[in-house]
């Protein structure tokens, strides 16, 4: 009902605007007088032509841009002023007068003061920005030869922490955090694409965009830029702006890339004899004597490799290809005149698989194909009315085996090399040689599903993902009311559908008997060989957004005045088919902003967001988030204008509030959730009352108060430095009852109401430094670095204090989110192990989790009670996110050559690893690199390197969370390197192309890290897809 009303209202507004369009059409279009045109050329200070310089009249009605030779033509009909703007150069205004030719030389501006920064609903000239933002252009991101956009962000934006948590080829997952965390949970920033909030599944939506369609990416880091977005702003915003049509000649740009992908890390893989020896060694340590599992003769047979009963299988090499291949093709078309400007783009991507499969009846090998397209059309309908249409789509076809690629990759390390396989020998007819019983899949007692089976006998899954985004906007210049006023109405719809063809199949598992002298197998488990079965699976979600915006911008002499107000209504469903998640989600937000600037020197901005979330009861539903910011551009002061070396000096400060409604609550957390269903224990009672969430009527949005102080410094028009310091506090963080409310009160804690009782702090700084200089006509040098530091503190989460005999009585409060606790190894004897029988006998510390053996870890008794137990655990590491992230980038352009590089890294980050491959006991013994040099008496006596405590068949005292297993995850990586060569125009023109560029690039080329082993990289974990190194050959042709 209400939905309908809003809907009707929106239709009325749209009709109204359409009507206004109709009555004003034709009356104004012909009112232009045709005059002579102006020709010219735009060059840099060294006389080199600049391509793509935007040329507009003062009001932005008439315009064009320069072609590949730097030339332009524009109608000189108003005899007014022309504005020449180009990224990296100072915008220049030229009065046309009666001239027919105007050549312009643009002035280099290392500080990019005239760059327009996209802030979501608003935009500002960089010089006027008083908040804290970081930007990167699509062209920079395009240098990374990867399929997933979020993979290109690392090291490019100061204040953005990226964590690549899944590295599956072309299906990677990267978590993004702006200034770390704003609350004790892993919320990602709000993503905004072309002014539309992507409130749900933004990580996936980012994957639908290719870097080459992006104009710029901006992250909004402080309250003054986030406040406008109210309950959606606290985690920061990532504002993505796609390319729009440019007035000027048609330009067609095509790119072709062929990439080669290689794993950066490969876990240690032991041959069967080594494996058998290590298992025997583990059994010996456990007290089972020598040769408990394998006799010397058996090991010798494994080593000799001449007896099929004693195989040596390298599953990794057998199933995994060394190189993956990815191809990408992209076509961009852009152009336009004063009436219509268009940008159109289509990309195609193909990702080949990395597994060797062995199934002839169907193809289970991984394979991804994507097509995405985008068309942005801007139209000037008449003097007052503009309209635009943005359409984008993405069609992904992905095939995997019946189980996911990551599971299959992981399984490579489960079955030992000494296991016979992958199939039982087929039973043949003695006379005819015909197969009576085909080979069956072999597994082990501990492994449920072996690689071979998952890869070849589980069927395949073919998913088709279709994501369509459409946006229609009308922009009404309301200067008929007052000059500078403008109204925009937008209707946007994103729809996402996934159709999955699931074919499934199961297979028998067989196990070899314990007698290694014979090849005998027994069937394991209840699975049977089954024919391929088909099923279809689908999911769907949409975003429907209405947006209305009033904008006012006018200069009164030296006074620059601006104001904006918006109203936003979003209705969306999630791909969730269970109640209450299937009900559409609604959000209403509004906000207003006022800016004032005097002479580009003194700048003030006020923002207020007023937004409501259905998550809260009426009384707490709407929340106001005000913020204020100011900047002083000291370098624009007259008294500084004579300091030629000082090209920029700006001081910035902001203070304000921003909020969050994604607090990990169940839906409608303010209401009790009691439902009546059928079922229950007693059939005759027929009905069952389910008591679910207990509502908290007082629950409300979390409010973050943020302060930011910044300074921007530009020197010699080449060096720019920017420093931001920030401090954030959330005083009403939503915390669960789990940590204080006892279970015995009887409401399951998952249902117990959560409260706004927590406090969370976050602070840090960002430094960016750039040297950006055009040395001469042929040589431009850029070198830059950025570093950010964020440290958060969980101040209050209602944590119950542990008893006084704990070395640390609180394990959350006072520490960073995700702080790990574990035992500290006692290294006082040099290596931390019980090395001698005497040392073991003298040990007076009782371990509460077993009895230490020779070669086991010695732990520190921190509470000095003579026992090693939970009470001795101490903080290990820094929390869930790295404290420091940094990037060093640069480039040299010399004549036709272009070289750029990016080093990226994180610091002060570690994690305690456990389980499979880190511990040696998993499955049938899964040994990683460290286990080869595990403690043995001989190794100790010979003073050899010892990298691991004494091996064991089963869990020992070593397999505890301790700093022994704490891996330092800081690293520096040569993230990206690109070398390109542009053919001289004479040559490219010969094949009627404007510009031809050859590109050689690489991603993740070298990593320097401090991990304990090389089994997995600093971003991954054992048996997870490793980070891939990419080599890429590309050609770009512009017509």
């Amino acid at each position: 009902m209400i939905n309908k009303m809003i809907h009707k209202l929106m239709i009325k507004i749209t009709l109204l605007l359409a009507f206004m369009l109709m009555i004003s059409f034709g009356t104004t279009v012909s009112a232009q007088k045709q005059s002579a045109s102006i020709n010219g050329m735009v060059t840099d200070e060294f006389g080199k032509p600049l391509t793509g310089v935007t040329i507009n009249d003062e009001n932005g009605i008439y315009g064009t841009s320069t072609n590949l030779k730097g030339e332009y033509t524009i109608i000189n009909n108003e005899n007014k002023m022309l504005v020449f703007s180009y990224m990296g150069y100072t915008t220049q205004k030229v009065t046309t007068g009666e001239n027919e030719r105007i050549d312009v030389q643009l002035k280099w501006d290392a500080d990019n003061k005239d760059e327009i920064i996209q802030l979501g609903y608003t935009s500002q000239r960089r010089n006027d920005v008083s908040g804290s933002v970081a930007t990167v252009s699509g062209a920079e991101l395009e240098k990374s030869p990867v399929a997933n956009l979020p993979m290109t962000f690392a090291g490019r934006l100061a204040g953005l922490t990226t964590q690549e948590n899944n590295s599956e080829l072309s299906r990677s997952g990267t978590s993004l955090y702006i200034r770390g965390l704003s609350a004790a949970r892993g919320n990602n920033p709000l993503v905004m694409i072309d002014g539309i909030v992507v409130a749900y599944n933004s990580a996936q939506t980012l994957d639908y965009i290719s870097a080459n369609e992006i104009e710029s990416v901006t992250i909004l880091k402080d309250a003054s830029t986030q406040a406008l977005y109210g309950i959606q702003g606290a985690n920061g915003l990532m504002v993505i702006t796609t390319k729009r049509g440019k007035k000027g000649p048609v330009q067609i740009r095509t790119t072709f890339d062929q990439s080669f992908q290689q794993a950066t890390t490969k876990p240690a893989f032991y041959n069967s004899a080594d494996y058998a020896e290590m298992r025997n060694q583990a059994a010996f340590n456990d007290g089972s004597g020598l040769n408990y599992l394998f006799s010397d003769a058996q090991i010798a047979s494994y080593r000799a490799g001449d007896n099929p009963n004693y195989p040596n299988n390298n599953w990794y090499n057998q199933y995994l290809k060394n190189t993956g291949y990815m191809q990408r093709v992209g076509i961009n078309v852009t152009g336009g005149n004063d009436k219509v400007q268009y940008y159109s783009n289509v990309n195609f991507m193909h990702q080949g698989g990395v597994f060797n499969t062995d199934q002839t009846k169907y193809n289970p090998e991984m394979n991804n194909t994507w097509v995405n397209y985008r068309t942005n059309v801007d139209m000037s309908l008449n003097k007052y009315l503009k309209a635009y249409v943005r359409l984008a789509g993405n069609i992904k076809r992905e095939r995997t085996a019946g189980v996911g690629n990551a599971t299959i990759y992981g399984s490579l390390f489960q079955i030992p090399s000494a296991t016979y396989g992958p199939l039982t020998p087929p039973v043949l007819d003695a006379t005819t040689g015909a197969v009576i019983t085909p080979g069956q899949v072999i597994t082990t007692e501990q492994v449920g599903s072996p690689t071979y089976g998952m890869l070849n006998r589980t069927g395949y899954t073919r998913a088709t993902v279709t994501n369509i985004t459409s946006q229609f906007g009308l922009d009404l210049d309301m200067s008929f009311l007052t000059k500078g006023l403008d109204f925009t109405g937008i209707l946007a719809y994103q729809t996402n559908g996934v159709g999955v063809l699931n074919t499934t199949q199961d297979y028998e598992r067989w196990i070899r008997t314990n007698n290694l002298d014979v090849l005998e197998f027994t069937k394991k488990g209840s699975e049977t060989d089954s024919p391929l079965a088909y099923a279809k699976d689908q999911s769907f979600y949409y975003h429907l957004t209405y947006n209305a915006k009033l904008n006012y911008k006018r200069d009164f002499g030296k006074h620059q005045v601006g104001a904006m107000a918006y109203m936003f209504y979003q209705n969306l469903t999630k791909a969730d088919n269970s109640s209450p998640g299937l009900l559409p989600y609604n959000r209403v937000s509004s906000g207003a902003e006022a800016t004032y600037g005097y002479d580009s020197k003194y700048l003030v901005k006020f923002d207020v967001g007023y937004s409501g979330s259905e998550q809260y009861a009426r009384g707490n539903r709407f929340i106001a988030t005000p913020a204020v910011s100011a900047a002083w551009v000291a370098s624009n002061e007259a008294f500084m204008s004579n300091l030629n070396w000082l090209s920029n000096l700006k001081l910035r400060a902001s203070y304000g509030k921003t909020a969050n409604d994604q607090s990990g609550l169940v839906r409608f957390a303010y209401l009790d959730n009691i439902t009546a269903t059928g079922g229950g224990t007693l059939v005759y009672l027929q009905y069952l009352i389910n008591e679910n969430q207990v509502g908290n009527p007082n629950i409300q949005a979390e409010v973050s108060t943020k302060q930011n102080f910044g300074i921007d410094l530009g020197l010699f028009n080449a060096i720019s430095v920017s420093v931001d310091v920030f401090k954030e506090r959330m005083n009403n963080m939503v915390v669960s009852a789990v940590s204080t409310i006892p279970l015995y009160q009887g409401v399951p804690l998952a249902n117990y109401p959560q409260t706004n009782a927590g406090t969370f702090d976050n602070k840090g700084y960002e430094i960016t430094l750039n040297y950006n200089k055009q040395i001469n006509r042929d040589l431009t040098v850029t070198v830059g670095g950025m570093m950010s530091y964020n440290k958060n503190t969980v101040v209050k989460v209602n944590e119950a204090q542990k008893t006084a005999d704990y070395a640390y009585r609180k394990w959350q409060e006072g520490y960073s989110y995700g702080q790990e606790f574990g035992y500290l190894v006692d290294y006082s004897n040099g290596n931390g192990f019980f090395n001698t029988a005497t040392e073991l006998a003298n040990n007076t510390l009782a371990y509460s989790f077993g009895t230490p053996r020779l070669g086991d870890l010695k732990y520190q008794d921190l509470n000095t009670d003579g026992k090693i137990d939970e009470r001795d655990k101490a903080p290990i590491g820094y929390g869930a996110l790295p404290l420091v992230t940094y990037g060093i980038s640069g480039g040299i352009t010399y004549k036709q050559f272009d070289l750029s590089f990016l080093f990226q890294g994180v610091g002060q980050f570690s994690s305690v690893y456990s389980g499979w491959g880190v511990f040696e006991t998993s499955y049938d013994g899964a040994f990683g690199a460290l286990h080869q040099d595990a403690w043995t008496q001989a190794r100790y006596d010979n003073k050899e390197k010892i990298t691991y405590p004494a091996l064991s068949l089963a869990q020992s005292v070593n397999h505890q969370t301790s700093d022994f297993f704490n891996y330092n995850r800081s690293y520096v990586r040569l993230k990206n390197l690109e070398l390109s060569y542009t053919l001289p125009s004479s040559k490219s023109n010969a094949i009627s192309a404007g510009k031809i560029k050859f590109v050689l690039s690489g991603q993740n080329l070298i990593t320097w890290d401090k991990m304990k082993s090389k089994d997995f990289g600093p971003e991954g974990s054992y048996a997870a897809f490793p980070v891939y190194r990419v080599f890429n050959l590309g050609v770009n042709v512009v017509f």
Binding site: G612, G680, Q686, L953
Partner: protein
């Protein structure tokens, strides 16, 4: 001119913005309200007949179900998963368990929270029904109240047998409840509360029924209330829990009432249906394979089943069973030795220190070279031993081969082979397969336990041979034990035993009769003999030479789970920490503080 035009524009502008903004803000709040997704309020529950019954239904189902797995945590069995790295049994035998990891390593997790959830629901029901506007007769309301009270007693009993005394709540806690005022009551205080609840439930006229009607399987009956009373008081008088509040004499009174009521009014009777020889060996074996049902037509012994049907063949099966998963609890030699000879004599009277050499009772006729002949019939119903007939319908067919090299050979290397030389047979139907799981279920309460509870208190309060009487009931401790033995086909206890000798033989009888039914775990604790029973167990390595078997007892590594702290479950450390935060009082059970 300029000025007036501007003013005009400002006015229009204001009007325009006012209209637009007011239109847009209109009905925002309603837009964000939850229209309806089917949720209801508590008032709507207790004003409606069906929903009130629905709430009562939700009070059911919080009692942990007994499961054969529990045997591996006692001297009844060594689990074949003890070699699996990080397995529960590996941790348990090694003693590598703290108050934080206990839940992940015990047979039934840590049911503390779940049981209190059930208690709260009973409390909500009992409180709300007082003022409920639902239309129902007082008699029907009475049956509901009686059920809720019995359930609450059942849940408290489950709590105290695991954790000892716990805080008692007889109404739901207010949202602003002050947790600092809560205290752990003593074991006997809780027993008093349990007895009162059961008595109240039993006192309500037309409250609880003896019978279980159609579709009422699992309902609280008078039998259940009596069984709860019997177990609660027997535990309260036992060495671990006795604080003088409940004496054996008081226990005898309550056990007598429970047993006599069940026998005289309840129609309960030990299951004595004779099976076909091709299906089960005796009625005891048949009982363990028979599902209890709502009409109690065949099974008149089960008071409350509690346990679900188990897939013994799969989770405690033999490697020769296709599709089996693991061997699970392998009967220990100690359990095997506890089965008497068919003549009623114990086969073994003592051991050397590591129990690898047994002292044979010369009167028993036990032959160490042929140890599985002439035993208690319950032995054949409960244990698969070497050379046992594998399929009862093929008496001359396959034999079980647990000897070294046999098809079901003993092995220390994988979890699909027996660790001890025996496989579990109780509850296991030999015909069970993946497509036809026909195994049995463990009963939470059955009549035999009531006989044994009565015997346990009566021999200590009155003496083994003294008859205790009630209306229509007269029975001595020995009589009660003998009823149980007679069903199994075992001779009676000799008359004139002194209480010590009777007690020892009684405990053995209880161990055998209730083997694998969770009782052993709690019995060795309440008797405080855990440090004697659970230090280690032994198995039987059998080698075959020609057609001769050689039997060698062997000892498993010492277990590290028999010290005082293992007498009770620890309360989850996080729960303990929370309470300390409120009141400063440490609720943790003894030993788990370390």
């Amino acid at each position: 001119m300029y000025k007036s035009e501007k003013l005009f524009s400002m006015k229009k502008f204001k009007l325009f913005t006012a209209i637009v903004t007011s239109l847009l803000f209109f009905s925002c709040n309603k837009q964000l309200d939850l229209q309806s997704d089917g949720r209801i309020t508590m008032d709507q529950v207790f004003s409606d007949y069906n929903r009130t019954r629905g709430y009562l239904n939700s009070c059911y189902g919080f009692c942990p179900a007994p499961y054969m797995d529990r045997a591996s945590f006692t001297d009844e069995a060594q689990d074949a998963d003890d070699i699996t790295p990080g397995s529960t049994y590996n941790n348990w035998y090694g003693g590598n368990i703290t108050s934080i990891t206990y839940a992940a390593n015990s047979s039934d997790g840590s049911p503390w929270g779940n049981l209190y959830t059930g208690i709260r629901k009973c409390n909500v029901f009992l409180q709300s029904i007082q003022t409920a506007t639902v239309y129902a007769t007082d008699a029907e309301k009475g049956t509901w109240i009686a059920q809720a009270r019995t359930l609450r007693a059942l849940y408290y009993l489950q709590l105290i047998k695991r954790y000892g005394g716990v805080p008692i709540f007889d109404k739901p806690l207010e949202i602003n409840h002050d947790f600092a005022t809560d205290k752990r009551a003593t074991f006997s205080d809780v027993v008093t509360f349990i007895l009162a609840d059961c008595d109240e439930a039993l006192a309500i006229s037309d409250g609880l029924s003896w019978n279980v009607s159609d579709n009422q399987f699992g309902i609280m009956t008078r039998g259940v209330a009596y069984a709860i009373k019997s177990q609660a008081v027997t535990y309260a008088a036992s060495p671990l829990w006795s604080d003088g509040t409940y004496t054996w004499a008081m226990a005898t009174d309550i056990n007598k009432e429970a047993l006599s009521q069940c026998l005289t009014n309840g129609g309960y009777k030990l299951f004595d249906v004779a099976p076909s020889a091709t299906f089960a060996q005796n009625s005891y074996a048949l009982y363990c394979l028979t599902s209890s049902n709502d009409q109690r037509a065949v099974d008149k012994e089960t008071i409350f089943q509690g346990g679900a049907q188990m897939a013994v063949w799969q989770w405690a099966g033999m490697p020769t069973n296709p599709g089996m998963n693991r061997t699970g609890p392998c009967p220990s030699q100690e359990l095997v030795d506890s089965y008497e000879m068919a003549n009623g004599e114990a086969p073994i009277t003592g051991y050397n220190a590591d129990r690898t050499v047994a002292t044979v009772n010369p009167l028993s006729g036990y032959d160490p070279a042929n140890p599985y002949v002439g035993r208690d019939p319950r032995f054949y119903a409960s244990i698969y031993y070497n050379d046992a007939v594998r399929y009862l319908d093929q008496p001359t067919g396959k034999k079980v081969e647990t000897f070294v090299g046999g098809t079901e050979e003993i092995s220390a290397l994988d979890r699909k082979h027996t660790r001890t030389g025996y496989y579990m047979r109780k509850f296991n139907n030999f015909a069970s397969t993946l497509s036809n799981s026909a195994d049995g279920a463990i009963r939470l309460f059955r009549l035999a336990e009531l006989y044994l509870n009565f015997a346990e208190s009566a021999y200590q309060s009155a003496g083994p041979d003294v008859a205790v009487t009630a209306t229509g009931f007269s029975m001595s401790a020995r009589d009660a034990v003998d009823v149980v033995r007679a069903r199994a086909g075992m001779p009676a206890f000799p008359a004139g035993m002194d209480p010590t000798a009777f007690g020892a033989k009684y405990r053995n009888e209880r161990r055998v009769e209730l083997a694998y039914e969770e009782h052993r775990f709690f019995d060795v604790r309440r008797w405080k003999i855990l440090d004697q029973t659970d230090k280690f167990v032994t198995g039987m390595q059998i080698t075959k030479t020609g057609s001769t078997f050689t039997y060698t007892r062997f000892k498993f590594p010492d277990r590290n789970c028999s010290s005082t702290k293992w007498l009770m479950y620890p309360i989850d450390q996080s729960e303990v920490d929370k309470v300390i935060g409120f009141s400063g009082v440490n609720w943790q059970n003894p030993g788990w503080l370390d």
